[in-house]
Each structure stands twice: as C-alpha cells, then as structure tokens.
Symmetry: C2
C-alpha cells in the first residue's frame, strides 16, 4: 500500500517539482518532497492501511470517502493537494469495468424522469435555505458569478451575471421571460426590476420555491413574476425569451433532446434563449464521488452535444462564452464563506457533512482551475432572427 502512494508522490513531484508536500503513513513512515514546513506546503496523513487500500481501489471516490470519514488528515490547503492530484490525472483514471457497469445501468434506468429528478434535486437543494444562506450571497444565487473586476464582491458579481445575461438576451419591456430552473429567483427579480419584462420561473425544489415566492411578495412583484413548483417537462405557454442557469447539469444526457424540444415548444419564433451550464471540453465519465454524495443524476455536457441538439431542435447558435475562471472564483468565495460558518454547519449537520461540503466546494474550484470543468453561456435563436444587433457591442457598453 505504502509503495503505491510513494509512486504517486513521485509522479506528483515530477509533474510539479516546485511544490512542497509530504505523505505520512500510519506507522510513522513518510515520503516528502521539498520542505513541508514552507507556506503553501501540504501534508497528507493516512491513518490506516485500510484507508490507503480504499483509495487505491476506488480512486477519487475512495479519497473523498476517506476524507469525509476523517481517515485522511490534511495539514495545509486542500485545493493545493487536489491540484497535485489533477496534475497526475488522479481524478481521471480510465474507468474500471465496475464504473462502466454503473453508468450503463444509469443510462438504461432513466434516472432523470420527473420522479427521479425530484429526488435528485431534493437531495442537494432541500437542505434548508438557512444552510445555503451561510455561504451564498444575499441574492441567494447558486451559480457562476461574473466578475468584471478582480475585487468585485460576490453579491456584485452575481448582479453582474444577471445583467450580462439580460444584455445577451436583449430583454425589453413587455416581453415574456421564462427561467427554467429559477432557483431562489435572482434572475427573475433582476429582469423584472431592470427590464420591465413579465416572467415565469419553475423549480422542483420546495425550499427554493418557498423562498422565491416570499422574496417576490416582499418586493411587491407578484403581478410581474410567477414561480411554479413544476418539472420543466410540464411547462406550457409561449415566451419571447428563455433562460436556464445552472439547471441543465441536472437534465441528464438522455434527456438533452427532450430539454431542447421543450425549449423549442416554449419559445416564440425568432426568440432568444440562453443556456448557462457547467460542461467539459471532451466527454468523460462523471466523477463518482460527486455523483454519489453531491449531485446524483448529474451530467456535464460537452459543447458539441449542446450544439448538436440545438441544431436538431432548429435553434441557431449565436454566441458561446466560457466563464471557467469566474466559476473558480465564485466557488472560492463560497468556500471561504463556508469556512467562516463551519461551526454553524457542524451544529446543523455533523463533522462528516462539513468535510464533505468542503471537499465539494474546494474540489469543484480546483476542477475549474486545473481540471476538466468549464462553464458555458450559450446564446441561440429559434430559427433566424435578422433584427438582432450585428455586433456584441451592446453587452459591453457602460
């Protein structure tokens, strides 16, 4: 067991010779590169041979479970350790026959049908609005922010994200906007308050639904915004503009064409849509730890899957923007807020939960910074619309 980790440490050192780090084993043995007392250095302690075996057998799933359970201890920055892991492809091993089997079962078992989607979404989003308010900004926005300057606050950057999307969508007074997967209602409120549209949003998370409705009532916007607790497949009506922010990840590969056809049904001819989703440049197996503990049923699409299904649905691709480093920064700020409130989270849940959520937030940030995670904003029209501005200047005018 120790031999395998000594090899891994050597590969990490070869990939990143400047980094100071050490692995310490249960019997006091250790492997060390550079000076682990330096600032930024990382020391990882394996508390038993069992832990080491579990990681070797299960890769990142095993690592995550060992970290959650306290069988791995870390001195130093978790993200630095994750960076070293990503550098040697520890997050991307060739999938084992077992993993292939699990994903095959998934594909044929339709896990994102309406019922399953509710369970999957509830697993993540119904942990209580109080919990989310401990690390999100006051707009309760749970998706990638848009930092116009490096020092923008999280709240400012979330407002800027809504504004960036509103400009791309060319929202105009009197238009009807649909927000598929509206979360806690941030985009709906921004669009109605700043652009005079009327808007419908849907969510299948009860906590989000309750929060969004009470916030809209508090702001006196009930006559302009409707929120429904409904699966996207059950939406009806016709809209001038559609937006979907950070929801497409939950649709699942099998339902991508269904999602596109639904948007086609809901959008007026010549109307604009914007899909804001995490993705990958190249298809790969979903991360099993993230799947099991954080986002069951998630699927991160590639731009080619998105573009192909948009083309099949009769949409015309107008603009794609990759905001990768914006999501890394958003996640870092969430993780910092989370750490400040870790004690409260521990009281709400337990120690294992704190470690699990920390690994999720720091791990996702590392995925955007060093790994395979991307975030795309994809703007499209239903059929051709020749009345749109010729350039993207309108997005950038002060």
């Amino acid at each position: 067991m120790k031999g395998a980790f000594k090899k891994i440490a050597t590969r990490m050192h070869q990939a990143e010779p400047e980094t100071n780090f050490a692995f310490e084993f249960w019997d006091g043995d250790r492997v060390c590169f550079g000076d682990p007392s330096q600032p930024g250095a990382v020391t990882l302690r394996f508390k038993s041979p069992r832990t080491a075996k579990h990681i070797i057998a299960n890769g990142f799933l095993g690592f995550g479970e060992a970290y959650m359970g306290g069988d791995l201890e870390l001195d130093g920055d978790l993200q630095e350790l994750l960076r070293l892991g990503i550098c040697i492809g520890f997050d991307q091993p060739p999938p084992s026959p077992w993993q292939r089997f699990v994903f095959w079962v998934y594909r044929i078992s339709n896990r994102n049908t309406c019922n399953h989607a509710c369970q999957n979404v509830s697993h993540h989003y119904d942990r209580g609005n109080e919990f989310y308010s401990l690390y999100l900004d006051p707009t309760m926005t749970y998706s990638c922010a848009y930092f116009r300057s490096p020092n923008d606050s999280l709240e400012q950057a979330q407002h800027q994200k809504y504004e960036h999307i509103a400009r791309k969508l060319l929202l105009k007074p009197g238009e009807k906007l649909l927000d598929i997967g509206c979360g806690w209602g941030g985009m709906l409120i921004h669009a109605v308050q700043n652009y005079g549209v009327s808007a419908l949003g849907n969510t299948i998370s009860h906590s989000q639904y309750e929060h969004a409705r009470s916030k809209i009532k508090e702001l006196g916007l009930e006559d302009k915004i409707e929120v429904v607790c409904e699966d996207y497949r059950n939406l009806t009506g016709k809209y001038d503009k559609i937006v979907s922010i950070g929801m497409f990840e939950h649709v699942g590969q099998k339902f991508i064409p269904v999602f596109m056809q639904k948007m086609d049904q809901l959008l007026n001819k010549g109307g604009l849509g914007l899909l804001h989703t995490i993705g990958k440049d190249k298809a790969s197996v979903s991360d099993p730890w993230m799947w099991k503990y954080i986002f069951p049923g998630n699927y991160l699409p590639t731009p080619d899957e998105i573009a192909r299904e948009m083309g099949m649905a009769g949409f015309s691709l107008l603009d794609v923007e990759n905001l990768r480093l914006h999501y890394a920064r958003t996640l870092d700020l969430w993780a910092d807020n989370f750490e400040r409130n870790a004690e409260k989270v521990r009281q709400m849940f337990d120690d294992v939960f704190v470690r699990m959520w920390r690994l999720y937030l720091r791990g996702a940030s590392a995925g955007f910074k060093y790994g395979e995670l991307r975030i795309f904003q994809v703007l499209f029209s239903k059929g051709l619309n020749s009345d749109l501005p010729m350039t993207r200047d309108h997005i950038y005018i002060q």
Copy 2:
C-alpha cells in the same frame, strides 16, 4: 412540367403572400401572384420544356445550370427569387439516391489529399488576381468582413475584421503568429503592422502566393512576414497564436481531425487559436451546384463537429461568435462591385461565367440571410491558460 412549376409558385405564394412574382413559360402561359410590375417583383421565364425538366430532375443544380446557360431569364432581383426558393425549401430537398451515391464516393475517395486540395483550390482561387480585384476591396480580403456600423465601407469592415480577430487572439509584440490559408496576406499585414508580431502564412494558390509576397515586399515587411506555398499538413514549427480565416471550408469532413491535430502540433502550450469558418447549424448534404461549379471539395462543418474535434485535440473552447449577417452584407457589396464590372468579367471569361459568378455571390448572400449558411469565429486555447482576461471587454474597448 408547367403543372409542377405552378405548384411550386403556389407554395411560394403561400409562404410569402406579400411577394409579387410570376413564372412565364415557353408557350406564353404564365402563373402570377400579386402585381409583377411592382418594384421588387420578380418574373422568371422558362425558355423551353427541356429547361423546366432539367430543374425538376436536378433541383438547385438544374436551376443553376439553366440560369448559367441562359435557358432561364429573370426580370428583377435574383436574390428575391432565391429567397422565395429558400422559403419553400427548394435549396434543401431530401437528397436523391444519386446524390447520396456521389457523396459516398466522395467520402471514400479522399478528395482533399494534398494533391486534390491543390486542384480544388486552384479551380477557384487561380482565376487571376485581376479578376478578384474587380469585386474585392483593396486589401484583397476574400472572407466575411466585420461591420461595426451599417455604413462602414467594405475596406473599413475588412480592416475591422482583422482588428476584431487580433483582439480576440490578444496579439502581443514579439509573438509568433501562423495564418493557415493566408489568402492574399491581409491578416498577416494587419497583425505585423499593428501588433508587432512576426508571422508565417501559407497558401496553396499560386496567384495568392505571388500577390502576398509582392505586397509584403512593397510594404518592406519581408523580415517580419514569411509566406510559403505549402499545404497546411506540411507546416512545421511552433507558434504562440494561430489563425485560419475562410480556409477550413476547404479542408473536408474527413480531414477535420487531421487539421485539429496539426494545429495542436503547431501551437505552443496555452497558446490561442481562432478558426473563422462558414458552417451550418445542422449537418446537411453539400449544395451540388456550388460543389460542381464554385468550390469543389468544400465541406461546411457544424459547430458540434468543430467543438468535438477541438475537444479531442486537447483544445479548450473559449468563445464562439456567429457573424451571419456580416457575411450577407460582405457578399452583397462584392456582388454590387461585380455587377459594376460585369462587362470586364465578360471580356475576361464569357457570358456563362458572369451568370455563374452572379448566382454564386447572390446565392451565398441569400444563404446567409434566409438559408442555412452561418459564419463562426471560434476561439480556443491549447490546454488551459489561466492568464487570459476574465471578460471579453478587451475586444470592445475603443
């Protein structure tokens, strides 16, 4: 025969009830909708039953051949007629078994190998620089311009296109730029004069090569720009930035992965590339008239094909912009220049050539305005580059 065209005319009228048009047949019979004496009206005259039969049997290929040969006569705006045809899908019939066979033969016969590519490119681009100068702008740029304002001149818009690309590529003094398929050298000259890069361009058109070299010499830029008459597959070296404008259309579907792998070989780690290419939202059979007479061996890719092959090559997609209406305007201005010089073109070639080239220019413009043609600028990095600006503001700053 007449019955078939009367049905087509009825479908056109149903699709576009406001349009005034008439079909006149060889025997004086006619079908007419609205008032063909109105401005903007179109009258199409079929000179013989043979012409009509050829069009019914061969679709747009037959129409194009009849128009070229003078067997069809037109009063009014050719593009208006093409618009009516596109409205009823005349340009997009389900491919016949014969067309399928032709494309199957194409796919297995590797028509864009180095030798075939030279023949195909020569067919279009080696018609003499004097001919192209009759309708291109003074920069001799033969690709989609970028109109910041509706009244920009063609020359101004071509400079703006180069500038738009240079900003997307974040060109910096001292960098090495490669232009794959550099045409008459416009991008190379703009980049070297405005950004202080050193540059290599390649072309396999001898006319372009001669023109580019003499222009570069005239400007005293020989120490900064090299142009080679060489297939892209034979290029070597390492570059900080790569651009390819309006050349990818000639690569052919089979060679898309080869092209991407070649860019991967040529680009430094973290370097940026920009692919500017005509494409379609959804795959369809190539237009057989365009294939036979204008661009043999051409293939118009979909964004999903581009994104997939970029992902496979290890590129990270950063930005996609669809400039559809810019190409329509570029083609309209080219076509207007062409008409002004039609008599000179007739003397260089003949009447059939004039009609052929007119149909190509007006037809392509109609394809961008009403049909399936799109133009994409796709920006990507080789692997991840975290030193890039977080926003696209730098493209739009005055």
